[in-house]
C-alpha cells in the first residue's frame, strides 16, 4: 500500500470521527464514502471470483491482488471494468498507466479504494 493510502486509512480510521448524539462514534461523510467505496470494490471482486473464494482469502485492505487474492490479469481487468462502469468520472486508465509493472503487481485493495475516494473528492486533479 502506498503512503497516501496509508494516510487516508489512518485519517478515516481514527482522526476523522465525531460523536453521535447517543455518545458513540458518528461516522463522518468522508468515512462513509470510504466504507461505501470499500464495499463496492469488494463486490466487484466477489462478482469475479465468487463469494466463497473471496471469504476464503480473508481479504483485508492490505491484501494484494496478485499475491494474496491470486487474481489473474484478466480478472483484474474485469474488476477494473466493473469499477470504471460504477465510477465513470474516476480516471482509472491514467492511474494504471502511471504504474510500473512492479507497482501493478503489488497493488492492494486499499490502494484501489483510496484512489477512488481521492478521485471522488478531487475529480479534476486525481490520478
Amino acid at each position: 500500500m502506498d503512503k497516501a493510502s496509508a494516510e487516508l486509512l489512518c485519517h478515516n480510521g481514527s482522526v476523522n470521527k465525531g460523536k453521535s448524539p447517543l455518545g458513540g462514534d458518528m461516522p463522518t461523510q468522508e468515512t462513509t464514502v470510504f466504507e461505501q467505496v470499500h464495499r463496492t470494490v469488494e463486490e466487484a471482486i466477489v462478482a469475479v471470483v465468487g463469494r466463497w473464494y473471496y471469504d476464503e482469502c480473508q481479504v483485508t485492505l492490505e491484501s494484494t491482488f496478485a499475491e494474496d487474492i491470486e487474481l489473474e490479469s484478466m480478472e483484474v481487468m474485469e474488476i477494473a471494468e466493473r469499477l470504471i462502469e460504477t465510477y465513470p468520472d474516476v480516471d482509472f486508465v491514467t492511474w494504471f498507466s502511471a504504474m510500473e509493472l512492479e507497482e501493478l503487481v503489488e497493488i492492494t485493495l486499499g490502494d484501489v479504494v483510496s484512489f477512488i475516494v481521492r478521485s471522488l473528492e478531487q475529480p479534476a486533479t486525481a490520478g
Binding site: E67, E70, M74, E81, M99
Partner: protein, 261 residues
C-alpha cells in the same frame, strides 16, 4: 468490457481513451498465442497509449474470455476476426496494429491481405510468418500438449509457469487444455501455407519492429528487413521473448510517438 461478435465468433474487447474529444488514430493490439489474452497488454502497453489514441484490445478466438470455437486457428482466420471486429466497432479509418509475438504475424498478414485497412504496424518481438515459421512455436505447444494429455501435477505447472499461485496455475492449465486439446490449433499451425516475398511485397504501410536481443525471434529481424526493406528496427538489449514485455517503459517510449504520429 464488451463482447463483440466478429466473423461469427464472440470476442472480448476493451477500448480505452482519455483526454479531450476529437479525431485520433485507432490502435488495435493483437496478443500472442497460448494461455495469455489481452489483459496483460492492456495494463502495460494499451492504457498508456489511451491519451494519444483510441485503443482497442481484444482476446483472440480461443483465448481469455473469448469464444473457443473447435476449429479455425490459421492466420487467415485470425485476420478475418480482426477485420470483422474493426467493422463491428464501426471504425472507419485505417487502423494501426500492434502485434505481439504471434500477434505480429497476424498484423503482418492483415497488412498483406487488406493493405487499405492497415495504416501502420508495430511489431513486438514478432513471429515473422515466413519459411517454416510455425516450427518456431510448434515444438513448445506440442510439448505442452503432451504434458496435458498425461498425468501432471499443479506443482509442475507452477514450476513451468514460474508462479507461486496454485489458483493461477490451475486456471492456466485449464485454458491450455481447452485450447491445445480441444481445438484444431496444432493441426492448423502445422498446415499453415507458407508466405513468400510476393506476399510481403503487398504490405503498403510503414512497419516498425522491436526485438529482444536474447529472444529466439531475434534472428528473424534480418529476415523481416529482407522482406520489408523499409521496416524500422529497434532492439532491447538482453530481453528474451517473454522478458521483453516487462520492459514496459522502453516499449511505451517507442509506441507513444508511433501511435501519435
Amino acid at each position: 468490457m464488451a463482447t463483440v461478435n466478429a466473423n461469427g465468433v464472440d470476442l472480448r474487447v476493451n477500448r480505452y481513451r482519455t483526454g479531450p474529444d476529437g479525431a485520433r488514430p485507432v490502435v488495435v493490439f493483437i496478443h500472442g498465442l497460448g494461455i495469455v489474452d489481452h489483459s496483460g497488454l492492456s495494463f502495460t502497453l494499451g492504457m498508456p497509449l489511451a491519451s494519444v489514441a483510441d485503443v482497442v484490445l481484444y482476446a483472440m478466438r480461443g483465448h481469455g474470455h473469448s469464444e473457443v470455437p473447435p476449429a479455425g486457428y490459421r492466420l487467415v482466420d485470425h485476420v478475418a476476426d480482426l477485420l470483422a471486429l474493426v467493422d463491428a466497432l464501426a471504425i472507419d479509418q485505417p487502423v494501426r496494429l500492434v502485434g505481439c509475438s504471434y500477434g505480429g504475424a497476424v498484423a503482418l498478414a492483415a497488412a498483406m491481405q487488406a493493405p487499405e485497412r492497415v495504416g501502420a504496424a508495430f511489431l513486438v518481438d514478432p513471429l515473422v510468418p515466413h519459411g517454416e515459421w510455425p516450427n518456431r512455436i510448434l515444438p513448445m505447444f506440442d510439448s505442452a500438449a503432451d504434458v496435458l494429455r498425461g498425468e501432471y501435477t499443479l506443482d509442475e505447472v507452477m514450476v513451468s509457469l514460474g508462479t507461486t499461485s496454485r489458483r493461477r496455475a490451475a486456471s492456466a492449465a485449464q485454458r491450455a487444455e481447452r485450447l491445445l486439446l480441444g481445438t484444431t490449433i496444432l493441426d492448423d499451425l502445422r498446415a499453415e501455407p507458407p508466405l513468400d516475398a510476393a506476399d510481403f511485397a503487398r504490405i503498403a504501410c510503414p512497419v516498425e519492429a522491436v526485438f529482444g536481443t536474447d529472444s529466439e525471434m531475434y534472428p528473424t529481424a534480418a529476415t523481416l528487413k529482407d522482406l520489408v526493406p523499409t521496416v524500422q528496427l529497434h532492439t532491447i538489449v538482453g530481453a528474451d521473448h517473454l522478458g521483453i514485455f516487462s520492459h514496459t517503459r522502453e516499449l511505451t517510449d517507442l509506441l507513444q510517438p508511433w501511435a501519435a504520429s
